[in-house]
């Protein structure tokens, strides 16, 4: 027979068993609510902003000066700056990241892998403000010895540092994709007399291509959203230029600039944070979805 105390105990067990799934489900919904919250706040303030500023002016204007008279609200200079940084970063990170992924996956002995991989993880874990400091006090002076007349704030130095920052991302995601290629494929090529390079470039890289491209897209998106390094090192002068020696401003750096100042809630200047933030969010969101689509759709199944 079950005694009184045991009934109580069983009842508690029974109730817990019923309540916990609900509580755990609530925990899981926090992430969905976060997304809803982000979209809701961005959208709400952006709509208010677009009632004051014509969206056509915003998306096609080539002058960005919301804080100084005469005011202008064309976001293109910020997008131009962001893309320039991202482009330089990709030029640095894609070859180096892919080469080190090939090395780690196809050439490196286990002992070397065990040392290098944690070092790359540390490189990925260095806070972005540290990279900003590094760009400003080390990379820029270094570049100035090669390029006379290079200003203290320039897109080149910031772009290189953002590139360094995304190397570990490309290298580790690409390496994961290459490691997933079955050994039998490699053995087949070796049996035909292929060198290691031929195996790497003609067998492994094509087979892992979806993962490699996904890693490129994710790194691209990460570079677009990078904030502190470009705020510190790239300057605060939004302009339509393709010259990497000049000071520019990215979307993220603009948002930081406004929030450092004393911008009253509800003003047009305050609204620009949300309009620029919305643009940034939509671009990175689409890139992330695109990366997931590539790695799923084009994955080679063995």
């Amino acid at each position: 027979m079950v005694q009184g105390r045991d009934i109580f105990k069983n009842k508690r067990v029974f109730i817990l068993d019923k309540i916990m799934p609900v509580l755990l489900f609530l925990c899981a919904t926090v992430s969905v609510l976060t997304t809803v919250g982000i979209i809701w706040t961005l959208l709400g303030e952006t709509i208010v902003f677009f009632k004051l500023i014509n969206p056509i002016e915003f998306f096609t204007g080539t002058k960005w000066a919301p804080l100084i008279e005469p005011k202008a609200f064309g976001v293109l200079p910020l997008i131009n700056g962001t893309l320039m940084i991202t482009f330089i970063a990709c030029l640095v990170a894609m070859p180096i990241g892919l080469a080190s992924a090939i090395y780690l996956s196809e050439y490196a002995p286990l002992r070397v892998r065990k040392i290098v991989k944690p070092i790359l993880e540390v490189l990925a874990g260095v806070p972005t403000i540290v990279y900003g400091y590094f760009a400003l006090t080390f990379v820029t002076p270094l570049l100035q010895t090669f390029i006379p007349g290079l200003g203290l704030f320039n897109a080149l130095s910031a772009g290189i540092v953002v590139g360094i920052m995304i190397i570990p991302m490309i290298s580790s995601l690409s390496e994961d994709a290459m490691m997933a290629v079955p050994k039998a494929l490699r053995d087949g090529a070796y049996a035909l007399g292929a060198t290691r390079l031929e195996v790497a470039l003609k067998i492994v890289v094509p087979a892992a291509l979806s993962g490699i491209i996904a890693s490129f897209v994710l790194a691209f998106s990460r570079a677009i959203g990078e904030t502190m390094a470009v705020t510190v090192a790239a300057g605060a002068t939004p302009k339509m230029t393709l010259n990497p020696m000049e000071s520019i401003q990215t979307m993220t750096a603009y948002i930081v600039q406004v929030s450092l100042g004393d911008t009253p809630h509800g003003s047009v200047e305050y609204g620009t944070i949300f309009a620029v933030g919305m643009t940034l969010f939509v671009i990175t969101f689409l890139l992330n979805i695109f990366a997931q689509y590539i790695s799923r759709r084009f994955r080679e199944e063995y």
């Binding site: 290098v116 972005t128 933030g277």
Partner: protein, 294 residues
């Protein structure tokens, strides 16, 4: 057998393999070298600023009196608020997704949502934090102002996706036989989760949380959005006070033109990196212990 032209062709391919091997090694060493240069540069710049008063003084206009005290205390507040909160929310979500959720559209929607959230730029979380926590969506009673709590809550949302994914992996690694044994003894689902699954997944979960917290400690951009003050010469009394944290203080020092403040920034970076490396080492130690057991 092989004639001369075959030999030449093979030699050429081997040479090509050799040169590109060198190139791949060079690319990898370059990445490692950059980390080395970065650390050496920072130590050279900042080591002479690491005097005892650097840890006990407040920020100051005089770089030789300035210290990191309010920033260190702010970061400590952050960890104390974030650790339990992100543990409950992150592990709760992971348990739901791994143990309870049916493999239906809702589950894959939540899962897709988590992986997308992980890729959103941190500054966008700052905008969310500004609207949701600092201003309380315009409702005065909910507004937390530019407080420690508002900052820590924003950061919790930022690291939640990382923690959920790490916890899911740890839970998935628990063998199904353990669950079956628990059910066979008459345990309920929750009892099984609580007494069997969680204890054997906890090292992996803790590793993930430590790594996520170390990411949060170094994060600057969202807190600039929240309006973490850059000149805080007082300690927060409670979680509703204004605050600064180590990376914000570094940002403040880097933004000034004088060399002495840049050196201070380097000293701050030494403190921050030491903290992060200690956290990473403890995460690795936990992981190793866990792997040996498994």
């Amino acid at each position: 057998m092989f004639n001369d032209s075959n030999k030449k062709q093979i030699e050429g391919r081997r040479r090509f393999d050799f040169y590109l091997h060198l190139l791949f090694v060079a690319a990898t060493s370059l990445a490692v070298l950059v980390l080395l240069v970065l650390i050496i540069d920072i130590v050279i710049q900042g080591a002479h600023m690491l005097k005892p008063h650097f840890f006990t003084n407040f920020p100051s206009r005089n770089p030789h009196e300035a210290g990191l005290l309010s920033a260190i205390v702010g970061t400590a507040y952050f960890v104390l608020i974030m650790a339990p909160l992100s543990f409950i929310l992150g592990v709760g979500a992971a348990i739901y997704l791994e143990e309870y959720a049916r493999k239906n559209k809702l589950r894959s929607f939540i899962q897709l949502n988590i992986s997308t959230l992980a890729g959103i730029p941190s500054i966008v979380y700052g905008i969310l934090g500004l609207a949701l926590f600092v201003r309380g969506l315009g409702i005065e009673q909910l507004a937390l102002g530019r407080s420690v709590l508002a900052g820590a809550l924003t950061m919790t949302l930022l690291v939640l996706p990382i923690i959920i994914v790490a916890a899911q992996e740890a839970i998935r690694a628990v063998p199904g036989t353990l669950r079956n044994a628990s059910f066979a003894l008459g345990a309920t689902k929750w009892q099984t989760v609580q007494r069997t699954v969680l204890p054997s997944a906890i090292p992996g979960i803790l590793t993930g949380i430590i790594l996520a917290l170390s990411r949060a400690i170094g994060e600057t951009a969202p807190l600039v959005m929240i309006g973490a003050l850059t000149f805080v010469n007082f300690l927060p009394n409670d979680v509703f006070d204004q605050f600064t944290v180590i990376p914000i203080q570094i940002f403040n020092w880097v933004s000034r033109p004088q060399q002495a403040f840049h050196d201070l920034a380097a000293a701050g970076i030494i403190v921050l990196l030491t903290l992060l490396i200690l956290m990473n080492i403890s995460a690795v130690l936990l992981r190793n212990k866990y792997q040996r057991k498994g």
